[in-house]
């Protein structure tokens, strides 16, 4: 279970939001460009710090400035897929997926098994030894997802994962995310600004407008005034 209640002064507005995501649930965070979506994910990951508030994951406090709690980024166990996938171009697909496990000192045999498992799941077994710089956009996104899941994260976050992907690749990534979140029963946040994505993949939608909650509810029930607003 992820509980977030954070506030931070940004350049143009104050980000001030609170939400929770249950295990196995996919929350779609929506809003126009610059509404604070990616900043929210970066704060949860520990790449940015909130001015006030608290972030709890499965009962553990990740960050609470008032108490001086700030868990290091590498200890938060969050699978974070960035907008551009950020697969390490100089490493092979296999090494990309196993990166987090090696960084955590996992036994080499266990790394091999886990990476093989994920290579099969994302259907990229044939490209295991290919350098990531040579992959297509959809393949990079799949590798980034597998890499984030390899560490058995307690939370999965994807920032605009479908941008610049064709329809087929988008469908594939959505299916994979749904499958993994169901299997692993972890909370998941997907940032997007496309309404179709929210109804395809989301269990719940959270619309952000200039750092504040505009609307929250089932993706299919988004009110007309919210759809008409420039936030979505």
């Amino acid at each position: 279970m992820l509980d977030v209640a954070i506030a931070r002064n940004l350049r143009d507005f104050r980000l001030d939001i609170a939400f929770a995501v249950s295990p196995g649930e996919i929350l779609v965070l929506m809003g126009s460009n610059g509404s604070g979506k990616s900043t929210t994910l970066n704060i949860i990951a520990g790449l940015l710090h909130p001015d006030t508030g608290c972030i709890r994951l499965n009962g553990t406090t990740l960050c609470e400035p008032a108490r001086g709690t700030d868990m290091p980024i590498e200890n938060r166990r969050i699978g974070y897929v960035f907008q551009n996938a950020a697969v390490f171009p100089h490493l092979t697909v296999r090494d990309n997926i196993g990166f987090g496990l090696r960084a955590r000192g996992t036994d080499p045999q266990e790394i091999r098994t886990r990476v093989d498992e994920l290579l099969g799941a994302i259907n990229l077994g044939d490209l295991a030894m290919v350098k990531a710089r040579n992959l297509s956009g959809g393949q990079k996104q799949r590798v980034a997802l597998a890499r984030a899941l390899a560490i058995r994260p307690s939370l999965l976050m994807l920032d605009e994962p479908f941008t610049s992907l064709d329809t087929e690749s988008t469908r594939g990534i959505k299916d994979l995310v749904r499958k993994f979140v169901n299997e692993m029963q972890i909370p998941c946040i997907v940032v997007t600004h496309r309404r179709t994505d929210s109804s395809d993949i989301g269990d719940r939608a959270f619309v952000l407008c200039s750092g504040r909650k505009e609307w929250e509810g089932l993706p299919g029930e988004m009110p007309e005034e919210c759809l008409a607003c420039q936030c979505v």
Partner: protein, 273 residues
């Protein structure tokens, strides 16, 4: 009817091409002629026989050893320094930035005098080193220190620029996956900027190899101890022109190889980008 070859448009274009060609030729000749003159002033036989001269061998060996050590120190200290300097904000950062660039515009002789005033026997720090029986000025160590002072900006500027332009999403990804800052730097940042860093290192080596002004001021001109190739050229021109020409030609060849290496590395970097 004006023939096509004499049309105003054709004439204007021909004059433009002719002007551009003459400009390129003039610049090329200005840069190439002095270098060519060096090669024409000697013969292959004289050049090859002079290579075994003890003075040439000693200067060549000393230059390579000191330049290699200078480069190693610049890389080992400069790489983490440039990274920390780029990623962190601290008071006086602009001043440090200026100090990094200063040796590029400072006359090398002034750099040598500055080093002498600080580390010389009667210098601010040299005085204390001297009391401990440590002498820095006019030793091989002084050659290395002068080379580092003058050549390090070539590496530091390149490293700073690479780290500034580096897409930090890679580093953020590595951190969220569980890598420490040091591991992230060693396994992600460093390999992805290595091509550019090597290019900066090659330029630094070249500059260290050609260092003259600061070395002669701070380290003197002692054969086998502080007489590097550029200093041997200086002595050679006064006493034995053949030796001076041989070392000059060697330095031209090395510089040419260095520039070719930098261009190949830059080309490969562009291919990977």
């Amino acid at each position: 009817m004006i023939p096509d070859a004499l049309s105003p448009e054709r004439i204007r274009r021909s004059v433009t091409y002719l002007g551009a060609g003459l400009l390129v030729l003039a610049v090329t000749l200005y840069l190439a002629l002095p270098i060519a003159a060096l090669f024409f002033r000697t013969t292959p036989d004289i050049f090859l026989s002079s290579l075994s001269d003890p003075q040439v061998m000693s200067a060549l060996w000393l230059s390579f050893v000191t330049s290699t050590l200078s480069l190693a120190i610049v890389i080992l200290v400069g790489t983490p320094f440039a990274y920390v300097h780029t990623r962190c904000t601290y008071p006086g950062k602009i001043l440090v930035d200026t100090l990094i660039d200063l040796p590029l515009v400072l006359p090398p002789a002034v750099a040598g005098v500055a080093l002498l005033v600080l580390y010389g026997r009667a210098g601010f720090l040299g005085h204390y080193f001297n009391m401990l029986g440590i002498s820095i000025a006019f030793t091989t160590l002084a050659v290395i220190m002068a080379q580092i002072f003058v050549a390090s900006p070539f590496y530091l500027r390149q490293a700073k620029s690479l780290f500034e332009q580096f897409d930090q999403t890679y580093e953020h990804t590595a951190r969220t996956l569980g890598a420490s800052p040091v591991r992230t730097f060693l396994t992600i940042t460093l390999p992805l900027t290595a091509g550019g860093l090597v290019s900066g290192a090659v330029m630094t080596f070249g500059r260290a190899l050609g260092e003259f002004g600061a070395t002669i001021m701070f380290a003197g001109n002692l054969p086998g101890v502080t007489q590097t190739m550029p200093l041997a050229v200086y002595v050679g021109i006064e006493s034995n022109l053949t030796i001076g020409l041989t070392i000059s030609i060697l330095l031209v060849i090395i510089s040419f190889v260095i520039m070719i290496a930098v261009k190949i590395l830059a080309y490969r970097e562009a291919g990977h980008a």
